[in-house]
């Protein structure tokens, strides 16, 4: 008896969370780079997950390349305080 109740509760909670999962998947798909190419009818969960993994990996690679470039730039000339002030003023 208790197993039946717990099973029904599990099914109802999974029904609620399926909707939320679908909602989040749609939102995630909108962030991915090829969002404008995709038709917004159905969200295939596997595709969205795969695209998300690929996108995160490519972002990681970009960050690695950028940090390598920054470390090379630092090797040649250290950022003294004057340059740091210039950078801050430029960024503001």
């Amino acid at each position: 008896m208790s197993s039946r109740r717990s099973r029904s509760r599990q099914m109802s909670s999974s029904r609620i969370t399926d909707e939320q999962i679908n909602d989040l998947l749609t939102k995630l798909q909108a962030v991915l780079p090829e969002a404008h190419l995709r038709s917004t009818d159905r969200v295939s969960a596997a595709k969205v997950l795969q695209d998300t993994c690929n996108y995160i990996r490519s972002l990681h690679r970009e960050v690695d390349d950028l940090s390598e470039r920054l470390s090379e730039l630092l090797a040649n000339n250290d950022i003294n305080s004057a340059q740091a002030a210039i950078i801050r003023s430029l960024l503001r």
Partner: protein, 190 residues
């Protein structure tokens, strides 16, 4: 002895949502990574962190270790900018080295052929095919600190993490541009 504390909130209206009573603002935090103010704050913090790296690793000659130190500093600054509200930011701040070593060891133990064997042995009919779970696991490994999360939380963390990474890329490329331009300018008159 009467249970009167858990169900004293009829405004939410859902049955099993014991955890989600107060956290109803899941939407705005993702947009904050796009603001310019956030990027500028992050940029100045990043510059300070990079200067510290340069000063502390003056003896380290290898480029690889230096770029890794820069990447670690950038990630830590990114996690601090998250203000500790997300799991991935807390995971980054609590310890990166341990995660890298554990990941390297786990990659050596599990060859890629074991994944197909696992999917073939699962004959119980589930609503989600094992491919989806496998992809969810891969995603959980990519986002720091999110290995064993349920899919819902994992998706939220992933969307926030992606927005933060995009901001990191924008900020670092801007700094690199400025530095290379400044370097070229100082090298001209000789």
């Amino acid at each position: 002895m009467a249970i009167s504390n858990a169900e004293g909130d009829p405004a939410t209206g859902n049955e099993g949502g014991g955890e989600r009573k107060r956290k109803r603002r899941a939407d705005p935090p993702v947009a904050k990574w796009r603001t310019e103010g956030e990027q500028k704050t992050y940029s100045s913090k990043l510059i300070e962190a990079i200067r510290r790296v340069r000063r502390s690793s003056a003896a380290a000659a290898t480029d690889h270790s230096r770029s890794r130190a820069v990447r670690a500093a950038a990630d830590r600054a990114l996690a601090v900018a998250g203000r500790g509200r997300t799991r991935w930011s807390r995971a980054i701040l609590s310890g990166r080295k341990l995660k890298l070593w554990v990941r390297a060891r786990a990659c050596r133990r599990k060859p890629l052929g074991s994944i197909t064997a696992a999917s073939a042995s699962h004959t119980t009919p589930k609503s989600k095919p094992p491919t989806l779970e496998r992809k969810a696991r891969v995603l959980g490994r990519l986002v720091p600190g999110c290995r064993k999360l349920p899919l819902l939380t994992l998706l939220e963390e992933a969307s926030d993490y992606i927005a933060a990474l995009e901001m990191q890329v924008r900020a670092m490329s801007a700094i690199a541009e400025i530095l290379s331009a400044a370097g070229a300018a100082t090298a001209e008159p000789m």
